[in-house]
């Protein structure tokens, strides 16, 4: 008999009702809320005279508009200089108060990027269904939860009904076999995957990531991988529960305790695909062949190994791909044949829901320690993902390492990943960024983004251009 995939299990356990046409109502255990995609949903509730179906299923924190300099943060809401941004943040505070929703507001020590804070607080647990008006909700799949981004109409729908109308996705397995080489990280795995299957490769699928290389990752590394499932077109990414998952969750504020913990663990250990489960598509990647990755274009699939070169659009057989590459290279100011290591950088951004957790900061600090940021780098930001990540990093002295090397140590928020606050990349400037999207204008009007791992961004900061971090690590070892 064919067994079930992890996605099948999560779907079946949350199925409230199914219509003949295949649409289903799926029960939602947790809704995460931030200030950008929620105001219209709360307004919809108000206009219809509705209350949240289950207020305690919601968890809010502001992140996109939050300023990241210490001086601004010291002033609280007044520190948000842009009045429109400030209104959005105060609107979230007001709405959470009115509807009885738990919020870590901008002055709370635990505030941060919602996809960092959720798992950190134990508010996202294995076996859950999790939604948020944010495409990077796929991050939480790292804990064996079915988690994906939704639009604002659906945010309102979940608030009002605790359910989401869905049609079931297909199952894809991406198996990363073998072991990663030193200096190669979770970020490189997921960029290599996107390079392989393309930004629409996962459309219509839920992707489960498996294989030895995935199993060997920490939960933070797994979050980096699942975070970018959406960049491969899949709304949800998943990783099976194992002892690493349970160890990560134990003791977190929202996690069950005592006898309830033991029972939950028993249930959560089932959150794996059966050996006999059927996947509609299977992609196998050899971890040993993954080299640190750098994006050179304006889509995450436009990626090359650090040892590679900018490809030539004229060599492309598909006309639409050729046009896309031409447009991308024009926007990026790069020429075919140029070595990736010859790309000069103006800015460095270490942060975002992809790579702003403590292990990311440790990896970056290990590379910059004892070095100085290249004189040609105009701005180098390190933005921790949450107040608690910041506190931990400071306890370990990472802030001092960054500051001594010449990087700025900032306060938590989304920051220059999407530049909705004051942290913006200038026009024509090249940025080595640990974020998730290199779209035109993403980090600032006219800005040029190169997606990399924290270690690669740190190595680029010191050298002023991309270098193979594996070479630097060899030197460190000696």
């Amino acid at each position: 008999m064919t067994g079930k995939t992890l996605y099948d299990k999560l779907w079946d356990s949350h199925l409230v009702t199914q219509r003949d046409d295949g649409t289903a109502l799926i029960y939602i255990d947790r809704q995460l809320i931030h200030e950008v995609t929620s105001p219209q949903a709360f307004e919809g509730l108000r206009l219809a005279g509705r209350r949240p179906w289950r207020a305690d299923a919601n968890f809010a924190t502001p992140d996109h508009n939050i300023p990241t300099t210490r001086e601004e943060r010291r002033q609280g809401l007044e520190g948000i200089r842009d009045p429109i941004s400030r209104i959005q943040v105060t609107t979230l505070d007001d709405n959470c108060r009115e509807f009885g929703i738990f919020e870590l507001d901008m002055n709370d020590e635990r505030q941060g990027i919602v996809h960092v804070v959720g798992p950190e607080q134990g508010a996202t647990l294995p076996g859950m269904t999790i939604v948020c008006g944010d495409s990077h909700t796929s991050t939480h799949g790292a804990l064996g939860a079915l988690a994906h981004g939704i639009g604002t109409s659906e945010v309102e729908h979940v608030m009002a009904t605790q359910c989401l109308m869905q049609t079931k996705m297909k199952n894809m397995l991406i198996r990363v076999d073998g072991r990663l080489n030193p200096g190669v990280t979770a970020k490189d795995i997921v960029l290599a995957i996107i390079g392989e299957i393309g930004t629409a490769g996962g459309t219509g699928f839920t992707i489960e990531f498996g294989g030895e290389a995935i199993r060997s990752l920490s939960i933070e590394g797994r979050m980096t991988v699942c975070n970018m499932a959406i960049e491969a077109g899949a709304r949800a990414g998943l990783i099976a529960v194992d002892q690493t998952t349970l160890d990560y969750i134990k003791g977190r504020p929202f996690a069950p305790k005592g006898e309830m913990w033991e029972k939950a663990c028993t249930a959560w250990r089932e959150m794996v695909s059966d050996d006999t489960a059927h996947f509609d598509r299977v992609v196998v990647i050899d971890a040993a062949e993954i080299i640190p990755q750098v994006t050179w274009g304006t889509s995450p699939e436009m990626v090359a190994p650090i040892t590679g070169e900018i490809p030539d659009p004229e060599q492309q057989s598909s006309p639409s791909r050729r046009d896309n590459m031409r447009q991308a290279l024009k926007y990026m100011g790069l020429t075919p044949g140029m070595k990736i290591t010859d790309i000069k950088l103006d800015c460095i951004f270490i942060g975002s829901c992809t790579n702003s957790r403590i292990e990311d900061l440790r990896a970056a600090a290990a590379v910059v320690k004892g070095h100085k940021v290249a004189s040609t780098i105009e701005m180098a930001l390190v933005v921790p993902g949450s107040g608690l990540v910041k506190k931990q990093a400071e306890a370990e002295g990472l802030d001092k390492i960054f500051i001594e090397a010449g990087l700025e140590w900032r306060e938590p928020g989304c920051s220059m990943c999407l530049a909705m606050n004051a942290d913006q990349l200038g026009a024509g400037k090249h940025c080595a960024s640990t974020s998730n999207r290199n779209f035109e204008g993403r980090q600032g009007f006219g800005g040029r983004t190169h997606l990399v791992s924290p270690a690669m961004a740190a190595a680029a900061a010191i050298n002023g251009h991309f270098v193979d971090v594996r070479d630097m690590l060899l030197t460190l070892d000696r």
């Binding site: 995609t37 219809a48 508009n65 842009d82 939704i150 009002a160 359910c163 629409a200 077109g233 929202f254």
Partner: protein
Amino acid sequence: MRKFTKESGLVMPLDRSNVDTDFIIPKQFLKSIKRSGFGVNLFDEHRYLDKGEPGRDNSQRPLNKDFVLNQPRYKGATVLLARENFGCGSSREHAPWALDDYGFRIILAPSYADIFFNNCFKNGILPIVLDKEIINSLFAKVEAQEGFSLTADLQAQQIELPDGELIPFNVDSFRKHCLLNGLDDIGLTLQDADKIKAFEQNWRNTSPWYFGVQG
């Protein structure tokens, strides 16, 4: 929600694949707490030559004359002809809000990003999936004939071209039903409130750890 039954309109081609939601509506406009007013900033970074900011008088900004939206022949277009993976990137519903506010009611493309596709239906916009070859031929027709318009008939699930050619399309039957009748999703779901309550009670009994609060 506004109904969609049968709509006709001028077609505007956007000959570019992987058009992302930042392309459709840049992030600075997401600071609004309203659902309307995004139309003037649709495709902002390509439509204008300078950087847009919320609250600015857009009529004073320099236009990018080369961008298709600014070409006089496409003024008043309500049908957007697009390429693969349209609407990829973020979940921002501001993207369909901006398209709708500008006046687009129909999108034709070979494929869409999932979240964007779903968001369109919630806003009375009909995103139609057509074979790549058909999309290619429509691009050629729009290019060749100024004022090229078409009609999308949702009930009949077909597109009518000016020369009488009919192109059938598929649409999920539930979404079709909702669009045709302008149904409010929440109202529909609440008709199943008893089922939701029963599910929830059972779930609370079997998996109480999802119902705890901070310990």
